[in-house]
């Protein structure tokens, strides 16, 4: 049998994380499982947003320039720091109007930027990371186990999938590295790859997927793995633990699936068609499958990337533009493309709103809606796609995580407030017992009920 410490280095985050970050020792001690099924989901937007459309008080701000990100950071939006009732929404946020009492809008949060890596690559890959700026020595990315996995360690213990990673990156050219294409990481250097093909997502979530057949050979391959492990040096053995962990998680998955009878008529999803979907339909479908997975108890934690960071290849946005457009390329030129970018921000927001509506329409056993039992976070890693600022990020949290967030409010944070404070708050809400998350200075208790 592989030793327990190698088994715990990868999927079970606690030991693995503490190898790299000793101060995290106490972080992921699991809360008792009786909390009921709380869920956490992310809707990640690449390449930032147009601030003038998204943030209150900035509608008339100057078009951001590239010359110096700081000039854009210090826009005086006239919004007082602190909590406000969420009474009016900006044009980009307008699709959320029906749910204004069930969301929390958080503005003014910042992240650090570590020099040495591409601004877009770090922006996506480190968005949910628990690393501090200088805690990671052997990578140019301040990257460690991400929030979804830290939470999954606690609330994923009984679901077939501990976490679910989806991406609406349908590019076929191999243009960017994994740092642009993953927000979910087991650890630095080890992404949790996402599924992009709706049919594969469906098969993984609701099909038997050949898992039973797989079991017929797992005994043999696990024995091979044990043989192989004996030949490896220390550092290779640590990395090789990923193989054991992966096999073991599949076995667990099969067991848990057998217990969990998913009622497909309840999740209201058919096998996706095997043909090109218009971009909006595609993102919506991926989101709906994420919602269905949360609803059916297949997982409690999910991330959905609307697209990869940078990746210049244009997409056809059916019904939006008359020719293929690149979100990233447009984001650099807000003089020329303001109208298009605002339309695109709105396009993505409408999908987010659609998924919120879908979640709110699902009633759970405790009488609340799925939305009520979830924290569904909308966010971008950049405060603005033109300035590439890591400050004043656009963040919305829908749902209350089982009544724990007091919603219908806007929190405007003072400059320099760490995004990690929100992540710490969310982690705590989800049952993670931790005093710190990355560079957090403390939880934001004001958000809680």
């Amino acid at each position: 049998m592989p030793s327990s410490h190698t088994r715990r280095t990868f999927l079970r985050g606690a030991a693995g994380a503490s190898l790299a970050l000793p101060w995290l020792e106490s972080l992921a001690t699991a809360a008792p499982a009786h909390r009921g099924a709380q869920r956490l989901a992310f809707f990640y937007l690449p390449d930032g947003v147009v601030r003038r459309g998204f943030f209150p008080g900035e509608a008339d701000a100057a078009v951001p320039q590239f010359s110096n990100g700081k000039t854009a950071v210090n826009v005086n939006d006239g919004v007082a720091v602190g909590l406000h009732p969420l009474t009016s929404l900006t044009p980009t946020q307008a699709p959320l109007e029906p749910f204004v009492r069930k969301i929390t809008f958080v503005s003014g949060m910042d992240r650090f930027y570590k020099n040495g890596s591409d601004v877009h690559a770090q922006c996506g890959s480190c968005f949910l990371s628990q690393a501090t700026a200088h805690s990671v020595k052997d990578s140019i990315y301040p990257l460690a186990r991400t929030l979804d996995h830290v939470v999954g360690d606690v609330v994923g213990g009984t679901t077939p999938l501990r976490t679910l990673e989806l991406s609406c990156n349908s590019h076929t050219d191999n243009k960017e590295s994994m740092y642009f294409d993953n927000i979910s990481w087991y650890s630095a250097g080890q992404p949790a790859p996402s599924l992009r093909d709706p049919r594969k997502v469906y098969a993984r979530l609701f099909g038997t997927g050949g898992a039973k057949e797989a079991r017929s050979i797992t005994d043999l391959v696990l024995d091979d793995a044990r043989d192989m492990q004996k030949r490896l040096g220390k550092s290779d053995r640590d990395k090789f633990a990923e193989y054991f962990e992966s096999i073991r998680s599949i076995e667990e998955q099969i067991d848990r699936r057998e217990k969990l009878k998913v009622d497909l008529s309840k999740v209201k999803l058919d096998l996706p068609v095997d043909s090109h979907l218009p971009r909006g339909d595609y993102i919506r479908l991926m989101g709906e499958m994420m919602v269905a997975a949360l609803q059916a108890g297949i997982t409690n934690v999910a991330t959905l990337m609307v697209g990869a960071e940078r990746w210049d290849t244009p997409f056809t946005y059916e019904g939006l533009f008359d020719k293929p457009m690149s979100h990233h390329q447009m984001s650099h030129d807000q003089h020329q493309f303001t109208k298009e970018l605002l339309a695109l921000d709105r396009f993505h927001m409408e999908i987010y709103a659609h998924l919120i509506a879908r979640m709110d329409a699902i009633k759970e056993a405790d009488g609340r809606s799925l939305l009520d039992n979830t924290l569904f976070v909308y966010g971008a890693g950049l405060g603005d796609g033109a300035t590439h600022q890591y400050t004043r990020l656009p963040i919305i949290v829908a749902g209350s995580g089982g009544g724990r967030f007091r919603t219908g409010r806007h929190l405007h944070c003072p400059d320099g407030t760490a995004l990690a404070n929100l992540w710490l708050t969310i982690a705590g809400t989800m049952g993670v017992k931790a005093d710190r998350f990355a560079d957090s200075t403390g939880p934001i208790d004001a958000l809680l009920a």
Binding site: F66, D118, D173, K175, Q190, A214, I250, T313
Partner: protein, 683 residues
């Protein structure tokens, strides 16, 4: 347009120092005269540090560009940091330090310093701990090849869009030593599927591996496993053996492995054991222990005893092997003591390098005999692998990734300006991408000097490309079977890889060229000296000139636009590498003037003292510095083969390779053989 000049990953680990050498390559004002301690570094380095370095990079004043040399006092302070020596060497030797605002180095001092730094680097590299490659899973491309090799499958397991050019007339036969005049090819990513392209029905591939930040998809630090991927490996393994096409007709080892053995049932046990012994040893690339054979055999025999047909029981064992870590993972076992790879690991590394798949019986046999690591044996094996058709797999991976040719897939020049780029529902880029790949294959198969990549007297063109190079109007565009003909090149503006329509188009935006992207591409691909990522607040240059800019050339617009002095250091180096190509427009068509009528000015100076007026002069400058290119190319090969970026500790190996290959003008097969025989490759 985007103004992200370094949209491409670089091949070396982006060491802080490499970035520093770029960033501080000029434009930093001196702060004052330093009263620094005296160094004891030797007769050349002491005056260098005293007179040219510490004013900005150490001493009592603010350290400029994050480069702090104040801790460097004795030679020991340097030899413990080979990366630092390598970067100092690069800065001084290339003429980028000291910056132009500062007094220049005396040529004799520069020469002496370079010599001294070189010998320090050699000493430091020899003392450095060898860098190993982490254990890593196969890439999707390698997995497909390895499964084919293992079963002697007649065709691919699943579609592989990463393979950009398919051979339709069996032109690729390196044993002939020459690439034919006519070849027929097609492209999967952009073109129509060719007839007769088959895969195993019913298999589902896992996702294509993304490029590593520093280059190739073979890099160990980027190839990890996850539950999702493991599920996909398990399902793929099962679906391979369950495919309706997995049968006697298509599986070469069918009779020797899957067919029920003749004779009485008692003989079955021995036959199964014997078959598994051979099969697993090939799959795992080293002799398997009896206990492993027993394990698999017990599984098969138990199934058969329960009534499972023999073929199906063997299929299950085969599927297990395909999902076994001993098959999926590449790990570099060493001889006791760790001084070098053991012979089986060496056989694997060589086979995965040149064949992208499993070592064959001959390689494994030499490993079993313990002779493979002997230089003459190993050298002869390189020659043999280079003559085998499986070399095509190297051509399907290395040049595409080295040249970053996938970028052409997404290139879409403005339709109004380049109407004939688009034909039917296809694009001229489909033809363009074949040209550099075929030139690469010709150079490889014919063992030509790698300088042909800069400047060759031949190329491969379709009729569409003939028209394209003539006047930017495409000739007839075939969409499935594209015939490419070898043509002599006498106009030196064409020829080589660096000025092909493919490279020029993929480094441009839809409506204008991107000189910085081109410069970064050349620095990365040809010189293996990638610039660091740009700072986050990079200014944007609009795709169309503004109203007050219409009279300017692109270069003038860039200069007017560049207000941030901290950018100047890098751009002094990148710009000449990119503006040299300005005569090629955004679709690779030659132009003498911009649309506004202003003449194109490609002139510049590279490596400190090679001034050039035009692209031919630029090619001459690169050719005059061909050892630089050879060093870069050797490092790319090593990185691809070893699955890790090269470091300063590899410098002696790379130097030895390039010195040896220089004798015959850096022929590519010599370089490959020398790479395999190098210390870096063998440990």
């Amino acid at each position: 347009m985007t103004f992200s000049p370094f949209a491409t990953p670089s091949r070396f680990t982006p060491l802080p120092w490499a970035a520093v050498v770029w960033l501080c390559a000029g434009g930093v004002p001196a702060v004052g005269t330093a009263e620094t301690d005296v160094t004891n570094l030797g007769s050349m380095l002491d005056p260098l540090f005293r007179d040219h370095c510490v004013k900005c990079h150490g001493g009592g004043y603010a350290v400029q560009g994050d480069v702090d040399l104040s801790a460097v006092r004795t030679a020991d302070d340097l030899t413990s940091r080979p990366e630092l020596i390598a970067d100092l060497l690069k800065a001084v030797e290339s003429g980028h330090m000291p910056p132009p605002e500062e007094p220049p180095l005396d040529p004799a001092l520069r020469k002496g310093v370079v010599t001294q730094l070189e010998s320090l680097l050699m000493a430091a590299a020899k003392a450095a701990k060898p860098v190993g490659t982490p254990i890593r899973r196969m890439t999707r491309f390698q997995y497909d090849n390895a499964v084919r090799d293992l079963f002697q499958l007649a065709f691919d397991v699943h579609p592989l869009p990463e393979r950009m050019m398919r051979d339709l007339n069996q032109y690729f036969d390196p044993a002939r030593g020459v690439l034919p005049e006519h070849v027929v090819v097609f492209s999967r990513p952009l073109g129509k599927d060719g007839d007769g392209e088959r895969q195993l029905r019913g298999t589902a591939p896992f996702a294509q591996d993304l490029r590593a930040e520093h280059g190739f998809d073979t890099q160990g630090d980027h190839l990890s496993m996850s539950p999702l991927l493991m599920e996909q490996f398990l399902q793929l393994a099962r679906s391979v053996v369950d495919s309706p096409d997995f049968n006697r007709d298509n599986v070469g080892i069918w009779n020797d492995f899957f067919e029920p053995p003749p004779g009485p049932p008692e003989a079955t046990s021995a036959a199964v054991r014997d078959r598994l012994q051979r099969f697993l040893s090939r799959a795992f690339r080293r002799p398997v222990e009896p206990a492993v054979v027993d394990r698999y055999a017990r599984h098969v025999l138990a199934s058969v005893a329960e009534g499972t047909p023999f073929v199906d029981a063997m299929k299950t064992a085969a599927a297990a092997a395909l999902a076994s870590p001993q098959f999926i993972y590449l790990c570099d076992a060493t001889v006791p003591g760790g001084s070098r790879l053991d012979d089986f690991a060496l056989a694997s590394r060589l086979a995965f390098f040149l064949w992208g798949g499993l070592p064959d019986d001959e390689l494994v046999g030499l490993a079993a005999a313990g002779t493979l690591h002997e230089p003459e044996v190993l050298g002869a094996q390189v020659e043999r692998l280079l003559r085998d058709r499986r070399l095509k797999r190297f051509c399907d991976a290395f040049p595409i990734q080295w040249l970053q040719l996938e970028r052409i897939i997404a290139s879409e020049p403005d339709m109004a300006r380049h109407p004939s780029f688009y034909f039917a529902e296809y694009r001229a880029s489909m033809h363009m991408m074949f040209e550099p790949l075929l030139v690469f294959e010709a150079v490889l198969v014919e063992n030509r000097p790698i300088t042909d990549f800069i400047d060759s007297d031949f190329s491969y063109r379709s009729s569409l490309l003939d028209g394209w190079y003539r006047d930017g109007r495409a000739g007839h565009g075939e969409v499935s079977d594209v015939t490419m003909r070898r043509v002599p090149i006498t106009d030196r503006r064409q020829g080589g890889l660096i000025t092909t329509a493919a490279t020029m188009t993929m480094t441009s935006g839809p409506r204008q060229t991107k000189p910085i992207t081109r410069g970064a591409w050349l620095a990365t691909v040809i010189l293996n000296d990638p610039p660091p990522p740009p700072p986050g607040n990079v200014p944007v240059l609009a795709e169309e000139p503004g109203e007050d800019e219409e009279h300017l050339t692109l270069r003038e617009r860039f200069e007017a636009h560049r207000t941030n002095p901290s950018c100047a250091g890098c751009h002094r180096r990148i710009d000449p590498l990119g503006f040299a190509f300005e005569n090629y427009d955004e679709a690779g068509v030659w132009r003498d003037t911009y649309p506004n009528g202003r003449p194109v000015d490609p002139a510049g100076t590279i490596f400190g003292d090679h001034a050039f007026k035009d692209i031919v002069g630029f090619k001459d400058a690169l050719l005059a510095e061909k050892d630089r290119f050879a060093r870069g190319f050797a490092a790319h090969l090593l990185s691809y083969a070893c699955g890790r970026p090269c470091t300063a500790a590899d410098a002696p190996a790379i130097d030895a390779i390039v010195k040896a290959s220089a004798a015959d003008g850096h022929r590519i097969q010599d370089l490959i053989r020398l790479v395999v025989l190098s210390d870096t490759f063998r440990r």
